[in-house]
């Protein structure tokens, strides 16, 4: 007899971040506690550092076997080689012998190394500072007893918060995620939705016990501890239905139509070529947003023009004539890139990000524009600029783009100027949309919402403010109207478009082009099919 059935079931309410059902044991990830170390004897501190270094090396060695991609493997191998070198930690051990605690000694020793790389003339050497920071933090986590736990598949992970890198490194098959912090629009939630991982936020994870059986209902934002046999059966059934529904949606073909037969375009948001492998271009109306940050992140050096061109061209070829909208680099904000974004922005979301950064780093921007101008020859490419605030920014981008095309042609290469559009995510741009000479508009609802409400999307206490309000819908309607009147397409590529509950409200505003994560294609198309016209 299963003794779990004897324990009392109870329910914990959170907020839905990604739909789906997961059933499995809870796994608590240790919370951060960098300053929790007690001072002990020099010999104990010495041993603590020895152990932390050995454990870090073991973790990295295990990780390097799994990554399977060249770039990541090179980065990890470098960190392992550093750990194997006694010279790295020697100054730390000297400080410990002099009475310093292990974590401060280690930080001080690494600070010297990091400063030396930060000060290098050569950008390749300068970029190594981030590897050393990564290594420093890994060892500090070990010293603080925050073990890098390996997450097996099929468990429900409960943690305070989770960085996107860790989410991506985890095998989520049949698993789910419960966080205390974060919000439905945080980046981890976006990843969870696009990968079909059930997730809820706003749960007091302190009270959860490791190993307890649990059931996660991502739709209802509910965590059920020790579910009874009946509840389990209900959810098993629901999970089976969901995976069936998902299959059915994927095989669904043809244009999306409202109940009254009006055509609505549904495109997808993608972050790389890998996501397209499982998708048939026949199932979508094109790519409404291809992010390019992922080409630049976690690398030793910035991507070359040729590398970018190859990827853009393959995207365009995949779409086989359907539009592919590529967004120029949207770094900064919460998406820092080593050697490119400015460190220490006081308020990153209001700082040098998106087009603001591109226009300050013309060396990097020009390369991207050249790669795009070359890929434009291969098919139906469109390019959009993120974070445009005033018309002059877009005008400068267009001039640079024209220059790039001219340059390429002079060099004897094929190139053309694709349609150039803008993201509408800054309220100032939405309010004065008539002033911009964009070929098309794409509303970035995630940032628009947080800028309109002056409420961070990552602040769980403000989740009620950072939501699609009447003010937001008013701005969306204004932009869509202007687009209709001036014969320019307006799409919406934020999370709002992928929320089946908001589809009707967006259609009410006149929006007829949606761009959603591949996982939301089915539910959004279904919501469109139910729509029969403005509700009263």
């Amino acid at each position: 007899m299963d003794d779990r059935t004897h324990r009392t079931a109870h329910r914990i309410e959170g907020r839905s971040a990604a739909p789906g059902v997961a059933l499995g044991p809870l796994m608590r990830l240790a919370p951060a506690k960098h300053d929790a170390r007690q001072h002990r004897s020099a010999a104990e501190e010495h041993q603590a550092l020895v152990d932390a270094l050995a454990a870090s090396e073991a973790d990295l060695t295990a990780l390097v076997r799994e990554v399977g991609d060249d770039e990541a493997e090179a980065i990890l191998s470098f960190q392992i080689a550093l750990l194997e070198d006694d010279n790295l930690a020697a100054p730390a051990f000297a400080l410990i012998a002099g009475g310093e605690v292990a974590n401060r000694a280690w930080s001080a020793a690494l600070a010297v190394q990091i400063a030396s790389y930060d000060g290098a003339d050569d950008p390749y050497f300068r970029a190594r500072a981030s590897d050393l920071r990564d290594l420093r933090d890994r060892v500090l986590r070990q010293l603080a007893g925050e073990v890098d736990q390996v997450v097996p598949s099929g468990v429900i992970v409960a943690a305070d918060d989770m960085p996107p890198s860790m989410f991506l490194a985890t095998d989520w098959r049949d698993g789910g995620l419960v966080l205390r912090r974060g919000s439905p629009s945080s980046h981890v939630a976006i990843l969870a939705r696009s990968r079909g991982v059930p997730m809820i936020v706003g749960v007091d994870v302190e009270r959860l016990e490791n190993g307890t059986d649990a059931l996660l209902d991502g739709e209802a934002g509910l965590l059920i501890i020790n579910p009874d046999t009946d509840t389990r059966a209900v959810y098993r059934q629901r999970r089976a239905e969901q995976s069936e529904a998902r299959q059915a949606v994927v095989s669904f073909n043809g244009p999306a139509l409202t109940a009254s037969g009006e055509r609505v375009r549904v495109m997808i948001n993608v972050t790389g070529l890998a996501e397209l492998e499982e998708l048939d271009p026949a199932h979508v109306d094109g790519i409404g947003l291809m992010r390019t940050e992922f080409l630049f992140q976690g690398r030793e050096k910035l991507p070359t023009e040729e590398e970018q061109y190859q990827i853009y061209r393959r995207m365009v070829e995949w779409a086989a004539g359907k539009p592919v909208t590529i967004r120029t680099l949207d770094a900064g904000g919460d998406k820092p890139i080593t050697g490119l974004t400015q460190a220490g922005d006081i308020n990153p979301f209001l700082g040098v990000r998106g087009v603001r950064l591109s226009l300050r780093r013309l060396d990097v921007f020009r390369l991207q524009l050249r790669a795009l101008a070359r890929a434009a020859v291969a098919g139906n490419l469109k390019v959009m600029i993120p974070m445009v605030t005033v018309p002059e920014e877009l005008d400068r981008c267009r001039a640079l783009f024209e220059q790039a095309v001219e340059e390429l042609r002079r060099e004897g290469r094929e190139a053309q100027l694709p349609p150039l559009g803008m993201m509408v995510e800054v309220p100032a741009a939405a309010l004065t949309i008539e002033d911009f000479s964009a070929d098309f508009f794409s509303i970035g609802s995630n940032d628009l919402i947080q800028y309109v409400a002056a409420a961070s999307r990552d602040e769980p206490q403000l989740a009620d403010l950072a939501r699609p309000s009447r003010a937001v819908f008013g701005l969306i309607g204004h932009v869509v109207n202007h687009g209709d009147r001036s014969g320019r397409e307006t799409s919406l590529c934020g999370d709002l478009a992928g929320d089946p509950g908001q589809v009707a409200a967006l259609l009410d505003q006149g929006l007829r082009t949606f761009s959603v994560t591949p996982g939301a294609l089915g539910p959004v198309r279904a919501a469109i099919a139910r729509y029969s016209g403005p509700s009263a």
């Binding site: 090179a74 191998s77 470098f78 194997e84 070198d85 006694d86 050569d122 190594r128 030793e300």
Partner: protein
């Protein structure tokens, strides 16, 4: 004890960077001899088995790398290291 010397021009695109340094120090550690590395025939010398020290030289592309080795397998060590650097660290990238 004999101290052997060798030098080789490094043409790797990004200099004695992370990936090349990992390969170089790993190879050096395969030998028993004491092996030093420098960017001039007169040093200063650093331990070629220490990636921390080797990376700290921040040797750019087109530097000449100097080695000196002392020990029973010094000759073999120098040959292997020169071949590695000369062969662009078996790494065309």
């Amino acid at each position: 004890m004999n101290k052997l010397r060798a030098s080789v021009l490094m043409r790797h695109e990004v200099g004695l960077h992370a990936r090349p340094s990992v390969k170089l120090t790993k190879l050096a550690k395969a030998f028993e001899s004491r092996i030093d590395l420098g960017l001039s025939p007169d040093g200063p010398w650093v331990d070629a088995k220490s990636i921390v020290k080797v990376m700290a030289t921040k040797a750019p592309k087109d530097s000449t790398i100097y080695f000196r080795a002392e020990g029973t397998d010094a000759k073999a060590a120098l040959e292997a290291l020169v071949t590695l650097v000369d062969g662009d660290f078996q790494d065309g990238r």
